[in-house]
Structures are given as C-alpha cells and as structure tokens.
C-alpha cells in the first residue's frame, strides 16, 4: 500500500525564518505535486516535479525531488504571514496523471 508521509504536520514559524517540510513516499513514482490550501478553500497547485533532482522555485517557496530517496522537500525562505496555509504533497502512482495519493498536510502558521 502506498504511503505518503509529511512532516511536520503542524509548523509554527516566525516571520523571516526558514524552514523545510518533508514528504516521503513508499513506492516508485516520477510525478510529485505540491498544493496549498487556505482554510475553507480549494487546493491550489504550487509545483509539479517530474524527475530526479527536479527543483522548482516560486517566490519564497522552493520544491525539490529525490526519486531515489523517495523524498520531496518544500523549503520556505524568510517566511511571511501570507504563507500561512496547509501544504499538501501528492504522489501520482499511475505515471499518466491519474491516481494522486495525498499526504496528511502540513499546517503552517507564520506569526509576526
């Protein structure tokens, strides 16, 4: 059974600090997604990572993928309050945009 584990599940940060969210998965996959969800809202796609060593950055967020270690990271640089949300990683196990298995999510709270 595929497992997607995120940690930490809760993260309270101060503005200006850096932190990393980890996403481990238990089976081979070459497609990993990161999503953001604000309270009561839908999921917004942040990144799609497609190959070993892939790195993508947008603003203060940077995502990377190590398919050999089955690990993806979402790094937050100099956090700001607007980044407060829940972040999900999801693994595509079908290889053709099919079944996404989501992690439990990391609830990030950035405090001034």
């Amino acid at each position: 059974e595929l497992k997607v584990e995120q940690n930490p599940l809760f993260l309270s940060m101060q503005e200006g600090k850096n932190y990393t969210i980890y996403c481990n998965y238990s089976t081979t996959s070459d497609r990993l997604y990161w999503y953001r969800q604000d309270p009561g809202k839908s999921l917004e796609s942040l990144f799609v990572l497609l190959s070993n060593g892939a790195v993508k950055q947008e603003g203060r967020l940077m995502a990377s993928l190590d398919t050999k270690a089955r690990l993806s990271t979402l790094h937050i640089t100099a956090a700001v309050h607007d980044l407060s949300a829940t972040y999900f990683c999801a693994v595509d196990i079908t290889g053709s945009q099919g079944n996404l298995i989501f992690g439990k999510g990391t609830k990030l709270s950035v405090k001034p």
Binding site: R31, Y33, Y35, S42, L43, E44, L50, G98
Partner: protein, 115 residues
C-alpha cells in the same frame, strides 16, 4: 479565467436522503476526479474518469455512492442513501489527461453535512 465549477457549495441533509453533487470540468480537460476531504482521513480519491469513461472507483463505497459523466461538461457524484459519516468536503478536479507537466485544477468543493 478557466476553472472547475462545483454545485452546490453547501448541502445540509438528513440521513437517508439522496445527495447529488455536480461538477463542470475545465473546457477541454478530459480527466475528472472526485476527492473527499475529512479531518480524520485527509484527501481520498473516490473515482476518476478519462474521456468520460470510469477508470477507477475503488475508493468509493459501491453500495451507496455512484459517479457518472453524462457528457464532457458534467460529472456527478451521487449518494443514496446518505449517512452522517458521509459528512465531508467533496472536491472535483480536472486535468488535461496526460501531458507530463499537467496540473490538476480543483473546484471549490461541496461541503456536505448529513444530520
């Protein structure tokens, strides 16, 4: 601005009643997914379609849930009869169906409360 449209946004019903949720995928997208989100289980895939054909509905309780795509612009998820444990947010998502860098786009969800 293309988006996935779901109706209703909120639904409160009594146990035993039928519930139908609707989804209009982004025009031109040929894959449609139904997910359920709860605090306890997180996001779970219920069913998905490609070119209107069901590919996987193994995540769905077959005795009470059914998912269909009567045409390319409409996907439905029906619960009959509904139970309190079905209370959750149900998301529909659509995608282009195969390009490797394709993103899935999620609708705003239907928040279902079964009393």
């Amino acid at each position: 601005d293309a988006r996935v449209t779901q109706t209703p946004r909120h639904k409160v019903t009594e146990m035993g009643q039928e519930v139908t949720m609707r989804c209009q995928p982004i025009l031109g997208h040929n894959t449609v997914f139904w997910y359920r989100q709860t605090m306890m289980q997180g996001l779970e895939l219920l069913a998905y379609f490609r070119n209107r054909a069901p590919l996987d509905d193994s995540g769905m309780p077959k005795d009470r849930f059914s998912a269909e795509m009567p045409d390319a612009t409409l996907a439905t998820l029906k619960i009959q009869p509904s139970e309190p444990r079905d209370s959750a947010v149900y998301f529909c998502a659509s995608g282009g169906g195969g390009r490797r860098n394709e993103k899935l786009f999620f609708g705003s969800g239907t928040q279902l409360s079964v009393l």
